[in-house]
Amino acid sequence: MSDRLNINKTYKLYIGGKFPRTESGRAYTIEDSKGNTLCHMSRASRKDFREAIVACQSAIKGWANRTAFNRSQILYRIAEMLEGRKAQFVDELISTGATKGSATKEVELSIDRLVYFAGWADKYTQVFGSVNPVATSHFNFSTPESMGLIAIMAPDEHPLLGLVSNLAPCIVGGNTCVILASEVNPFIAISFAEVLNSSDVPGGVVNILTGFKSELYKHFGTHMNVNAIICCADNKDQIINMQENAALNVKRFILRNKVNWMSDAGQDPYFIMDTQEIKTAWHPIGI
């Protein structure tokens, strides 16, 4: 043991490309399996959620207008940054009780999954779009287009891989998102925000909150600027409440609470399509 005192990290939120503390000033404690305090997390409030939506909103146009090639490179860049910090994330996962083997596997899968979705950026419109042979003299085509602003309730298990598997297909398609991190192991999500912040991902495209699902789930459903909710949580009452409130502005509700994120089912190009709209355009053919 050296005499040197460790510098412990202050975990804050990630909103609009910055790391603010929660406006509420509240914190909650994360303990390791032995009951020792690991760290304190910012406990985000409704106002933080709304601030994150504002950040999302201001980033939407710029992000959706990036070329597919550019988005592809930015996702790949996230993978590069994560690869460089692999050891840190493995250690963090171990501190939450994971074995070295499973922690390493989760980090490696997360990196590979980012690369996988990076590759889809300039392909999914080709695979999932269509030129439609209408029976009149028109040129007609359908293309996937970003849905807009997505609120994601990340899974509790696999705090890094679960986060990455939901975030990547969402932003690769030109959406921006607000993510409520794993409630049990939230600090890894904030460390991942540091990766995002050094990966050319424009501020506001991904916003990460930490806090209590039981406090924040209502706002997922009721906020009128949210276009879709991706829910990886299990609480039936919370799910029903979000689904009911989704009807306020016809939010799309995507339930992903049965996916095994460590398996191949966790990387599906149809996840991209969950947060895409299909736009069809017509033009006459003639003189």
């Binding site: 009911e244 009807a247 736009k279």
Partner: protein
């Protein structure tokens, strides 16, 4: 000479004088059809078929009486005469229908070779084509839409939807790379009154092609063509219970949506009801698609082919009396061509023939119901009280039936209710803009996002605007075109999911 003709004659004399004096009216020539082209009545005949006096529910391959024994009258909105009595299905009938659909799914439909499913659906398409004239006439009698539209659009398109989807039945694995798509089970469907048969086709055809069985409720005011379709389905020899048609009112539809053994809900109708349905489905495992309201912007740029644009705008809002969820009900005109556009629109509206839907010359038929007519009238008053300038055709309206004159509102603000809310009638609001960005901002300033139109001869501008309008269907230099291969459906509060085309299969499948 009738009184109206005299008035018009005076008008046209004045127009001729104007041309002699100024060489033109408002820098554009006016086509004056009124005095030179008189149309003789050309009513479609009805002697080639006979409606039944009473229609029962179609459950498990048979026409059966409603459990409660209740019937209601369905009328011709153009004359208010009763056409037939229709069974009022209750939750008990819906339960019977769902049970029949479940049995048919479990025992027959899910076990059939896919190519056989295709052949059944092809049969429906062919029988519809054979009986197309009867279907067109009944559609017009029951719904009030001009016979020209039901004959040339509704019925042929409905048949085409069956024909198109039929072919998918044994090719689904090609449509979803990397997946093996499976049917969901029983689809519960609720459809509106604006395109009664066409909406039934939009719903039933993809549901069957993907291997599901169906319980469907037609709109209360327009059940007849769906019941004729039941006859076609019977004649096509579809196994009992594969398609069940339960007529009735809102509570009948609610019984379908809420039935615990329905796996998928498909609804087309108002955003208000759509939201109720979405909320009701919370906590269930049911998949759903909602095709809801709209308030589409139709944008004319100064470099547009103006005469074509005028025709497109007229078709965009007055097609089917404006009872179209994707109607181009908000016209946005670039300021420099506003005067020309509004003059030409008024001239064109004066020449639209409003009246007997059964007449082949009629452009605008009857409003579908008294309720809808009252709603349109209310919006007309709202528009005027909000301070808008307005113009209505001076045409005579039939004394009986539900009719409304084609109407323009301008001098309206984005916040006006007639600009924000869906009227679902022949009422067009007109706003101006200066820049492309302003047009896009105004077009997107609505909770809806179903459709939109762009008129310009500049290709790059088309792609720019089409990309930036948040809506599911964009028509450039055309409007209100539909095809079974072309996906349809909205962004935002205009609904979710797509109908038609390859993308219209997704909501009926689990991957």
């Amino acid at each position: 000479m009738s009184k109206k003709e005299k008035v018009l004659d005076k008008k046209s004399k004045k127009a001729i004088e104007d041309i002699a004096m100024n060489g033109s009216i408002n820098n554009s020539r006016k086509l004056n059809f009124d005095t030179s082209w008189q149309y003789a009545p050309a009513p479609e005949s009805t002697d080639h078929f006979k409606l039944k006096k009473k229609y029962d529910l179609f459950i498990n391959g048979k026409f059966v009486k409603p459990t409660d024994g209740k019937y209601y009258k369905t009328i011709n909105p153009a004359t208010t005469e009763t056409l037939a009595e229709i069974a009022y299905g209750t939750d008990k009938d819906v339960d019977k229908a769902v049970k029949a659909a479940r049995k048919a799914y479990n025992e027959v439909w899910s076990k059939l070779p896919r190519k056989e499913i295709a052949k059944y659906i092809y049969r429906i398409a062919r029988l519809l084509q054979e009986r197309s004239r009867e279907f067109a006439v009944v559609e017009t009698l029951n719904g009030g839409k001009p016979i020209r539209e039901s004959r040339d659009i509704d019925i042929p398109l409905a048949a085409a939807h069956f024909f198109y989807n039929a072919g998918w039945a044994d090719k689904l694995h090609y449509a979803f790379p990397g997946k093996s798509p499976q049917p969901l089970g029983v689809a519960g469907q609720v459809i509106p009154w604006n395109f009664p048969l066409l909406m039934a086709a939009w719903k039933i055809a993809p549901a069957l092609a993907t291997g599901n069985t169906v319980v469907i409720k037609p709109a209360e005011t327009t059940p007849l063509t769906a019941l004729l379709l039941a006859e076609v389905i019977q004649e096509a020899g579809l196994p009992d219970g594969v398609v069940n048609i339960v007529t009735g009112f809102g509570d009948t539809g609610a019984a379908i949506v809420n039935h615990p053994d329905v796996n998928k809900v498909a609804f087309t109708g108002s955003t208000k009801v759509g939201k109720i349905i979405q909320k009701a489905l919370a906590g269930t495992e049911k998949k759903y698609t909602l095709e809801l309201g709209g308030k589409a912007a139709n944008i004319i740029f100064e470099d547009a082919p103006i005469d074509q644009a005028i025709e497109g705008v007229i078709n965009g809002i007055f097609f089917n009396q404006g009872h179209v969820c994707c109607a181009g009900s908000r016209l946005l005109v670039q300021e420099s061509v506003f005067k020309t556009v509004i003059k030409k629109l008024q001239d064109r509206i004066e020449n639209l023939i409003v009246g007997d839907p059964m007449d082949k010359n009629t452009d605008i038929g009857a409003i579908n119901s008294k309720m809808q007519l009252d709603k349109i009238k209310e919006y007309y008053e709202i528009g005027k009280s909000e301070g808008a300038s307005s113009f209505q055709s001076s045409c005579n309206l039939p004394k009986k039936g539900f009719f409304f004159r084609p109407t323009l509102f301008w001098d309206v603000a984005q916040s006006h209710r007639v600009v924000q809310e869906e009227i679902f009638g022949p009422v067009l609001t007109i706003q101006t803009f200066r820049t492309v960005q302003e047009a896009i901002d105004k077009a997107n300033n609505t909770a809806y996002g179903l459709s939109g139109g762009v008129w310009t001869d500049k290709g790059s501008k088309i792609f720019n605007v089409v990309n930036k309008i948040r809506a599911g269907v964009l028509w450039a230099n055309t409007y209100n075109k539909f095809d079974p291969t072309s996906p349809f459906g909205g962004y935002k509060e205009s609904g979710l999911g797509r109908e038609g085309g390859l993308h219209g299969l997704t909501p009926y499948l689990k991957m």
